[in-house]
């Protein structure tokens, strides 16, 4: 068994021993070798170069994890929870959209999500857009306000909510069902775009979204809108799928030429 990893001389001895004495030998698949190599790369100094980008998990995802893992310890199957929509995978995508500051008042907002990592092999069982609404000093409108969500390239209403004027005094999350958007864009769902607007009462008069605490300026990571997608594996999933994807993304990161190129040579791999 020959690993593709360059083991750092400072790497723990334990790792080197594991590499040498691994029982799977030459019969192991290429993927398995890659996983072992990847583990050793990560254990060594190379990891610092590859995983510089730190992801801050959204509090909502942490709470999902906490709830379902606690249920699991009690012997309950998380997929039976109504909130999980019988999914065994829940993926969160952080909004990449920005408000156009030139537009004042802010009549419409676009929420953009890169969903290219969603697997076609998984059955989609639900999707919701969670938008954070900041607290404002006092009621900003005389009557109830209706917020409506549409796909960016369609006039088909996805979901709507009524907001009481008093709602604007306290912060909170608005949850909108966007499952239909996935059905509509089933063929090419690498990017999803939603458009939000708000109208006063039953009129068509659009309300400034800033007055509802929906503007995106100065928001922290935890306050960004997220698209939460619930999927169910059609067949038994294993950790190799995730490792395979990680290895691919690591490789593509390694293959990207450095922008500065200040005499840096690409890291050589020993086979």
């Amino acid at each position: 068994f020959q690993s593709a990893a360059i083991i750092s001389p400072t790497a723990p001895k334990r790792n080197r021993e594991t590499r040498i004495s691994h029982p799977y030998g030459q019969r192991s698949s290429k993927l398995f070798k890659d996983i072992i190599a990847s583990s050793h790369l990560a254990a060594g100094h190379h990891k610092e170069e590859v995983s510089k980008e730190t992801v801050v998990p959204h509090e909502y995802m942490l709470s999902i994890y906490r709830t379902y893992s606690a249920a699991e310890k009690l012997g309950l199957n998380a997929s039976f929870f109504r909130s999980s929509k019988s999914a065994n995978t829940i993926t969160s995508f952080v909004d990449k959209g920005t408000d156009n500051l030139l537009h004042s008042p802010l009549r419409r907002q676009k929420y953009l999500f890169d969903v290219s990592t969603l697997s076609e092999k998984e059955e989609l069982v639900g999707a919701e857009l969670r938008i954070f609404r900041k607290a404002l000093g006092g009621p900003q409108s005389a009557g109830p306000v209706h917020i409506q969500l549409y796909p960016c390239r369609s006039d088909t209403l996805l979901d709507s909510r009524s907001l009481d004027p008093l709602d604007s005094t306290k912060a909170g999350w608005e949850v909108l069902d966007v499952w239909d958007a996935f059905h509509a864009q089933h063929q090419q769902r690498s990017q999803l775009c939603f458009q939000l607007r708000a109208t006063l009462g039953k009129s068509d008069a659009e309300v400034d979204l800033r007055r509802l605490g929906l503007d995106r300026s100065g928001r922290g990571q935890q306050e960004k809108a997220i698209l939460v997608v619930y999927t169910r594996s059609k067949k038994r999933e294993n950790l190799f799928n995730e490792m395979k994807e990680k290895i691919k993304s690591r490789r593509s990161a390694e293959e990207k030429p450095t922008k500065e190129g200040k005499g840096e040579k690409p890291r050589r791999r020993r086979r």
Partner: protein
């Protein structure tokens, strides 16, 4: 037969190593997976270890094939190896991780924890 101990019970070396569930703590950091697994940091996976020798205990839930193989092994160890001590019941765990697009994903992975070992 194994020699009797002072309590009159047969307590041979083999009975000590009969197929059973043993501790196996998995630390994702030691595996180098902490760069994509957010939580948990590790978990108790357990593993199965020990011999499946004649006579097989019922709690090991042997398959009919394992019973035959064990019997054959007891009659002639050179002709047939003993049956294997393997996980017969596993349970899932929840994992929170980042995918290749740096999106945070919750996933329930099946068959991560050994609940029961048996002879197969």
């Amino acid at each position: 037969t194994a020699p009797s101990n002072r309590h009159g019970k047969r307590h041979g070396k083999k009975s000590k190593y009969r197929c059973s569930k043993k501790a196996l703590h998995v630390n994702f950091k030691e595996l180098g997976w902490d760069d994509w697994i957010i939580a948990p940091l590790g978990y108790e996976a357990y593993h199965c270890e020990g011999v499946c020798d004649f006579p097989l205990r019922s709690h090991l839930e042997p398959t009919n094939h394992a019973i035959i193989q064990t019997l054959m092994n007891s009659m002639d160890p050179n002709s047939t190896p003993p049956s294997c001590c393997v996980p017969t019941k596993l349970s899932p765990i929840s994992i929170l991780f980042t995918d290749s697009g740096n999106n945070v994903v919750y996933k329930q992975y099946e068959e991560m924890v050994v609940e029961q070992c048996g002879c197969r």
